[in-house]
């Protein structure tokens, strides 16, 4: 037993199902992404494919702290958030394969997953471009005097972007219920944060807007959950936005076209990060607190494997969109 194990609190048994679901969700994301990588390598997925492997705790921890009527937006590295939010593996895989049964009917692709039913509003590919949209949804919530929260994910490289600055400033000056989650995986594509930012700590930027901020350990799903829960409460109670810098690490390259290591980070660094794999550490913790045994674990893994296999098969067998779909949904008919 490590020091951490004896000094930290025991996980409540009452939450066992919820906690196990979080683990399962992380495993689902991991397997899904591994299979997606395989599918990409086989040419079934085209264009760009940005994998979430290593960052699972951030998505899963966040969704565990939110309500179904909250709104989520994210960047192009979004499979994890989509799955964690409850978009089916089938819908996501079919979208990656560009099929008519995909979440956007095959017209969005890996970078543009949308699911209105779960308030998952994309899937945006201009770095920082969606952050003002997050503020906009928060504006609408306040406009309607609701208590929902508008949540947006983005990478640390986006915080140097003008859109980030404008969006957070307005959320602060207008007091809007938003949570800005910066997934700091230390690299903006091939550029380390130290090279691109005058200030290393992203959370420090919040003081420009007099906005509450926290630095969170993104490899610990429960720490993520708790931080997001705090921010959500702040938003619901007081219409106050929060900036969360969640430090995480991606085990793969920026995208499928990017090598795991070599150009801009060393093999040792990657291996060191893998030692803190969020899935393993959380599984270990559940085990230690008697909430997970081998049998449950194996069943969980087998079910997830089946779910992902099913998603692949579904995507394979689904049809391409009809040619008429080319011109569909450019405009929405009717008026108010």
């Amino acid at each position: 037993m490590t020091d951490t194990a004896t000094t930290r609190e025991k996980l409540p048994a009452a939450e066992a199902d919820a906690l196990r679901k979080m683990l399962r969700d992380m495993v689902l994301i991991r397997r899904f992404e591994e299979k997606a990588a395989e599918a990409y390598a086989h040419g079934k997925i085209g264009g760009f494919c940005h994998l979430y492997i290593g960052q699972e705790a951030v998505a899963v921890g966040t969704m565990a702290a939110l309500r179904p009527d909250d709104t989520i937006m994210t960047s192009y590295r979004e499979h994890g958030q989509a799955l964690a939010r409850g978009v089916s593996a089938r819908a996501v895989m079919a979208e990656l394969f560009g099929k008519a049964t995909g979440s956007s009917g095959g017209k969005g692709g890996s970078m543009h997953i949308f699911d209105a039913a779960t308030n998952f509003l994309g899937g945006h590919a201009i770095v920082g471009g969606h952050i003002p949209l997050v503020t906009g949804v928060a504006f609408a919530i306040k406009y309607r005097e609701g208590d929902q929260v508008s949540v947006g994910f983005f990478g640390e490289a986006a915080v140097n972007n003008g859109a980030f600055h404008e969006a957070l400033n307005m959320a602060a000056v207008w007091r809007l219920p938003a949570i800005y989650i910066c997934e700091n995986n230390r690299y903006g594509m091939g550029t380390a944060l130290e090279r691109a930012s005058a200030i290393y700590d992203v959370a420090q930027r919040a003081c420009s807007y007099d906005m509450p901020a926290e630095v969170v350990d993104g490899m610990d799903v429960l720490k993520v959950r708790d931080a997001v829960a705090r921010a959500a409460q702040r938003a619901r109670d007081r219409y106050m936005p929060t900036l969360l810098e969640i430090r995480t690490y991606r085990f793969m390259g920026h995208s499928m076209s990017d090598p795991i290591h070599g150009h801009y980070r060393t093999k040792d660094e990657v291996e060191e990060a893998k030692a803190k794999d969020p899935i393993h550490t959380f599984a270990e913790r559940l085990r230690a607190d008697g909430l997970l045994d081998d049998e449950r674990w194996q069943t969980m893994e087998a079910e997830v494997a089946d779910e992902v296999e099913d998603a692949i098969r579904f995507a394979d067998e689904s049809p391409d969109p009809a040619p008429e779909a080319l011109y569909a949904d450019v405009y929405r008919e009717g008026s108010s």
Binding site: P132, F139, E166, M170
Partner: protein, 326 residues
């Protein structure tokens, strides 16, 4: 029929639409306390309150994005740019977010938003404050582009734009705000995508939009002195373009001059010419000519600026050319 300024016609439209639908709100720089940089939103803050008439920091990209986000959440924002020159900062939100969202989401997320403000040149405002970008926006599928030329059209088209379920780029004109005209009372809604023949004639068609409609009408009066009947067609909406009305006119007159304020290369007129030559080839007695702004950044000097802008004399000269009269 009441006579209103273009500005007041817009004000009326905003007021009526905001009263009609609580999800409509106005956002932009100086729209509230200042009563509007060009007074288009005069009195609206007092009537509807600060949640519905929102003053923003000088952050075009930011508040354009806020508007799109609000539209994603089901509101109907009207985002004002002080001028369309500044909207270049926001063009990522207009094109990459607003125009594309419905398509990228497979039809799930419509964006019922209006981006409005004055475009084109005023007087001696120089290169960065005098630009006409309607061609840029008209190029993008997913957007609609509207350019009202009269107070009646301003009111009717703004109402339609706000009710439309798609992102609408609504381009007004500083020089038109004081212009007066008859505006029908009651529910005056002008549909998008429908052109209007502003003056009938049988000898030559002049296609013009926005400020150039007045220029075209002036040219028509000049031509009338020589017994030449010019027909002035105002598209009113540039995208979607009412090509059939333009073509019907050219079929009648056999010749066409297009006048636009913007730069010549790949301008709106180029698209109209393509439509005419495709649909009315056998009815053309002369090539279609365009009168455009000069292919230069707008100069400050008064005389140079005049040279850079289209005027009635240039339109008359072009009309005579297509009539083989000079």
């Amino acid at each position: 029929m009441p006579v209103l300024t273009y500005r007041d016609a817009l004000n009326q439209a905003l007021r009526e639409e905001m009263a009609r639908d609580p999800s409509v709100f106005l956002m932009g720089e100086e729209v509230g306390v200042y009563q509007g940089a060009y007074k288009v939103s005069r009195g609206l803050l007092e009537e509807f309150g600060p949640m519905r008439v929102v003053d923003t920091p000088i952050t075009e990209l930011g508040f354009a994005g806020v508007g799109v986000g609000a539209a994603m959440a089901g509101l109907r924002p009207v985002i004002e740019f002080m001028t369309w020159n500044f909207a270049l900062l926001a063009i990522d939100q207009i094109v990459n977010s607003a125009a594309k969202m419905l398509y990228m989401s497979g039809g799930q997320v419509p964006i019922p938003i209006v981006f409005r403000g004055p475009g084109g040149a005023a007087l001696m405002l120089a290169a960065q404050h005098s630009q006409s970008f309607e061609a840029w926006y008209a190029h993008v599928p997913g957007l609609k582009v509207v350019t009202p030329a009269t107070p009646a059209d301003a009111k009717g088209l703004l109402k339609s734009a706000i009710r439309d379920n798609n992102p609408v780029v609504f381009i007004e004109g500083e020089m038109m705000y004081n212009q007066k005209g008859e505006v029908p009372e009651g529910e005056h809604v002008v549909p998008l995508g429908v052109a209007e023949v502003k003056r009938e004639g049988k000898d030559v068609t002049i296609v013009a939009h926005a400020k150039m409609v007045a220029v075209a009408l002036k040219a028509a009066e000049e031509l009338a002195k020589d017994g030449i009947g010019a027909e002035v067609v105002d598209p009113r909406t540039l995208r979607p373009l009412d090509l059939p009305t333009i073509v019907a006119s050219v079929r009648k007159t056999n010749r066409c001059v297009i006048v636009e304020e913007g730069w010549p290369f790949a301008g709106i007129g180029a698209e109209v010419v393509d439509g005419i030559q495709r649909e009315a080839f056998d009815d053309l007695d002369a090539p279609v000519l365009r009168v455009t702004g000069a292919d230069v950044p707008m100069p400050y000097n008064r005389q140079l600026e005049k040279l850079a802008k289209p005027d009635a004399a240039k339109v008359v000269a072009a009309a005579r050319k297509v009539l083989y009269q000079g």
